[in-house]
């Protein structure tokens, strides 16, 4: 069974204005295998799976599914052929129940009057979910479920039409380790049932445990496809980035911490989200806050930029107690907020690169309300060069850029503002290794230049690579505090799990 070819791509090409996103890619996916697809952001893997799923129409080449050539023109057509997709941002309708979501758009549960037969739909949904050994209350609207359970619903939706191929687009981005393990179990189970799985991911450690084969892409081209046992993590990184091994070794942290307190939080609480948190953030320091999803770390970051309101406790900025806190006053006081959700909270996707970068400074630079467009252009250009943001020109709209470049634009906004305290939530979520390393470098550089950085991340490696000190939360409370140099991964993970 393992050697039967389920999906075959031959010389597939897809161009967008000015860029060949997928350049002559040929690929075979076997029946019942877990096939990892790796590449930088902008390497073309997203475009490739969109062609497979039908969201994009290819320019040339052939796609063969189960020895039948297919020419899909829409995702609906793909679903009908048996290609399911689990999107990174789950495509569920928040207010519908689990079973309604799973069978959305399918018209098969009807009673003899032609009305919806909710009972048999629920039963069928339960049958699919049981398969995964997870307990989910299907009657709840999915917005009330956690992210990992929502993902299970999305997976159930993808396979509910006898899918032959299921594509996962970075499925673990929003999951904690235990949830991810659970997901891998589901993937293996599906593969065991003969479903072929294409799995896009940035987390290299994951694929060695779960995937059967791996395909690497770079700059739109196919690089290699290997059995998982025949390649090492180092080789993969080298292939993906084209960077030699010496450069990959992360720089040793030299602390630039000073004694000047920039932010001091005393016993801050916010309803059920977090309780009695106290910490100081010093100039030149990179402080990490980590924990499992739902531990309250993101909410603390949001409270520092007045996005969330506090129910108790005080925040001092440079020794001064803060009252009537709004995002505007926070920005004026030199705090920068880099959201975990750059598309919703960080960028105007319809706006140009230039307008996004200068947004924080436009008002200050303008005279009598008139924009200083010369200065804006020069500054934006300088930022683009400094951070090495890859764009074709400054008037390009940011929704056309990759995640890494978008994140750099968010950073550029606040660098331009000359903020002193950078509050960053999951600064490298959904970003490829190359850009990730660059952003980590920027974080260290900021500390060196005398800024203070608060990194909120659920990724242990990220915390170890960037932070001088880390606070570990468990269920809204401080569970432990470690200095980075004593930071063993195991110790940190144990603390995160509340041990």
């Amino acid at each position: 069974m393992q050697d039967e070819i389920m999906l075959k791509l031959e010389h597939v090409v897809k161009s967008f204005p000015g860029v060949k996103a997928v350049d002559d890619v040929s690929l075979e996916v076997k029946k019942g295998e877990i096939h990892a697809l790796l590449g930088h952001n902008g390497a073309g893997k997203s475009t490739l799976v969109k062609i497979i799923s039908g969201a994009y129409v290819k320019d040339s080449g052939t796609v063969t599914l189960d020895s039948e050539e297919i020419n899909l023109t829409s995702p609906q057509a793909g679903i009908k052929k048996g290609i399911g997709m689990v999107y990174q941002e789950l495509d569920l309708i928040p207010d519908l129940s689990g079973d309604e979501n799973i069978f959305l758009g399918q018209n098969k549960f009807r009673n003899r009057f032609g009305l919806i037969d909710a009972q048999s739909r629920r039963r069928e949904a339960e049958r699919i979910i049981q398969n995964f050994d997870i307990d989910i209350d299907l009657s709840l609207p999915v917005r009330k479920l956690g992210v990992s359970k929502q993902q299970v619903i999305a997976i159930a939706k993808a396979i509910s039409r006898e899918a032959k191929v299921v594509i996962f687009d970075e499925p673990t981005a929003a999951l904690n380790n235990a949830e991810a393990e659970c997901l891998f179990g589901i993937m293996k189970k599906l593969a065991g049932q003969g479903v072929s799985i294409i799995w896009i991911t940035h987390r290299l450690d994951e694929i060695f445990e779960t995937a059967d084969r791996v395909t690497l892409m770079r700059e739109g081209k196919w690089i290699t496809t290997k059995e998982i046992g025949q390649i090492t993590m180092k080789e993969i990184v080298t292939e993906l980035t084209g960077v030699t091994e010496e450069e990959q070794i992360s720089t040793v942290n030299i602390s630039n911490k000073t004694d000047e307190k920039l932010i001091s939080c005393q016993n801050i609480s916010a309803q059920k989200l977090f309780q009695n948190i106290s910490f100081d953030l010093y100039r030149g320091e990179v402080l990490g806050i980590t924990g499992l999803i739902g531990c309250g770390s993101t909410e603390i970051a949001k409270a520092l930029f007045a996005v969330n309101k506090l129910s108790g406790g005080e925040i001092y900025i440079k020794g001064k107690k803060i009252e009537h806190f709004t995002p505007k006053t926070a920005a004026q006081k030199g705090i920068a907020y880099i959201s975990e959700d750059r598309k919703m909270e960080g960028l105007n996707l319809k706006g140009s690169v230039q307008n996004n970068i200068v947004l924080t400074m436009s008002k200050e630079w303008s005279k009598l309300g008139f924009l200083n467009q010369k200065k804006e252009k020069e500054s934006a250009k300088e930022m683009v060069e400094t951070l090495d943001i890859r764009i074709s020109d400054l008037s390009q709209t940011v929704n056309t850029l990759s995640g890494g470049n978008q994140q750099k634009i968010v950073l550029a906004k606040w660098l331009l503002k000359n903020a002193e305290v950078f509050v960053m939530c999951e600064p490298t979520r959904g970003i490829d290794i190359g850009a990730k390393r660059e952003i980590h470098k920027i974080i260290r550089q900021l500390a060196k230049e005398g800024k203070a950085v608060l990194v909120v991340s659920s990724e242990v490696e990220e915390i170890i690579d960037t932070c001088d000190r880390v606070i570990i939360l468990y269920d809204g409370r401080v569970k432990g505090e470690l200095l980075s140099k004593d930071c063993a991964k195991k110790k940190m993970l144990d603390t995160m799990y509340g041990i």
Binding site: Y337, N348, K363, G369, F370
Partner: protein, 330 residues
């Protein structure tokens, strides 16, 4: 990182490239619209030689001016991903205020006009405050204000027209300077100011950003609520100018004027290529949209076609314009 990165050679983006890219996009859309208008003018000239006479074209522009001004205000609201359904009623209320101020309170015309403009602007501000500070949905909020303003209009006039026979107002409404109708000049002036605000001021930048991503704008430290309130005030001001011009052209404050104006204004905005989702669009498009509608109305009356067809054709043009936008996306 500064020194490290600077030596990385990048393909520079010269300002010419930027100019081309930016203008190119807007131009393509507007060229299409201008082309469509030109074809329409050609057909109309073929059908009736009277159409292309300068006097008629000026008349056409005069007829387009009111909806053009309303469209300018509406473009501001729609760019923030909102809408202002109250402009027709607010225009009527403003016109009634001018009429009452002149005939009942007998205050100088100049002051009466100011009162009219203030009325509209305040109602716009009220819309803005309700929408941004009290988080009402723009459509429902302005629908409510639409009814309130219309109600006030009827109450103030007991439903009757207020005749205003002031020579200055009549001159504004029907006079010409160098042969060009004064209200057209006013509309063009409003366009120029609006264009400058949208493209060269911080407020204009905010209008686009609000429509593009309000939350991200707020989290960039910008007082989005204030900016939104100002935007709706501008929209209200445009409605007020329309109201004042109603008095000038009709010689009376009619409580029933401006009905359906909000829909026509939305139509010219959409035809002009402004996305109803906000964040994308241009004022130039809106002006051409107004001219297009003016052409349809003027052309049909020149061809002696019953005005009922105007409505029908307007609908067709709106659908075509939006379809075109969809095709362009693909």
């Amino acid at each position: 990182m500064e020194s490290e990165r600077k030596d990385v050679k990048r393909k520079g983006c010269s300002c010419m490239d930027i100019m081309k890219g930016k203008l190119g996009k807007i131009k393509a859309r507007n060229f299409l619209l201008v082309g469509f208008i030109a074809v329409l003018w050609g057909i109309l000239t073929f059908l009736s030689p009277h159409f292309i006479k300068i006097s008629n074209i000026l008349l056409l522009l005069q007829q387009s001016s009111i909806v053009m001004i309303a469209g300018i205000g509406m473009t501001f609201a729609i760019l923030t991903s909102g809408i202002d359904l109250s402009i027709g009623s607010v225009a009527a209320l403003s016109s009634v205020m001018v009429g009452i101020a002149i005939t009942k309170w007998e205050i100088p015309v100049f002051l009466a006009l100011l009162i009219g403009m203030l009325t509209g602007t305040l109602f716009g501000m009220l819309n803005g405050i309700l929408i941004s500070y009290f988080r009402l949905q723009p459509m429902i909020c302005t629908l409510g204000i639409m009814s309130i303003a219309r109600g006030l209009t009827y109450i103030l006039t007991s439903g009757r027209s207020v005749f205003v026979t002031d020579s200055l107002l009549i001159k504004i409404g029907n006079g010409r300077i160098l042969g060009i109708p004064i209200i057209t000049l006013i509309a063009l002036f409003m366009f120029a100011v609006g264009y400058i605000i949208l493209n060269y001021t911080f407020l204009g930048r905010c209008v686009y950003c609000l429509g593009g991503n309000e939350e991200a704008t707020r989290l960039s430290g910008i007082d989005t609520r204030k900016m939104k309130t100002i935007t709706y005030s501008i929209c209200g001001f445009c409605a007020a100018i329309v109201g004042v011009l109603y008095v000038c052209t009709l010689g009376a404050s009619e409580p029933t004027v401006g009905q359906g104006l909000e829909l026509n204004a939305t139509a010219v905005t959409a035809i002009g290529g402004t996305s109803l989702l906000g964040g994308v669009g241009s004022l130039v498009g809106t002006v051409f949209g107004a001219v297009l509608i003016g052409t349809i109305n003027n052309g049909l009356s020149i061809l002696n076609i019953v005005s009922y067809y105007q409505q029908l054709l307007l609908g067709v043009v709106i659908i075509l314009a939006v379809l075109l936008e969809q095709f362009k996306k693909k």
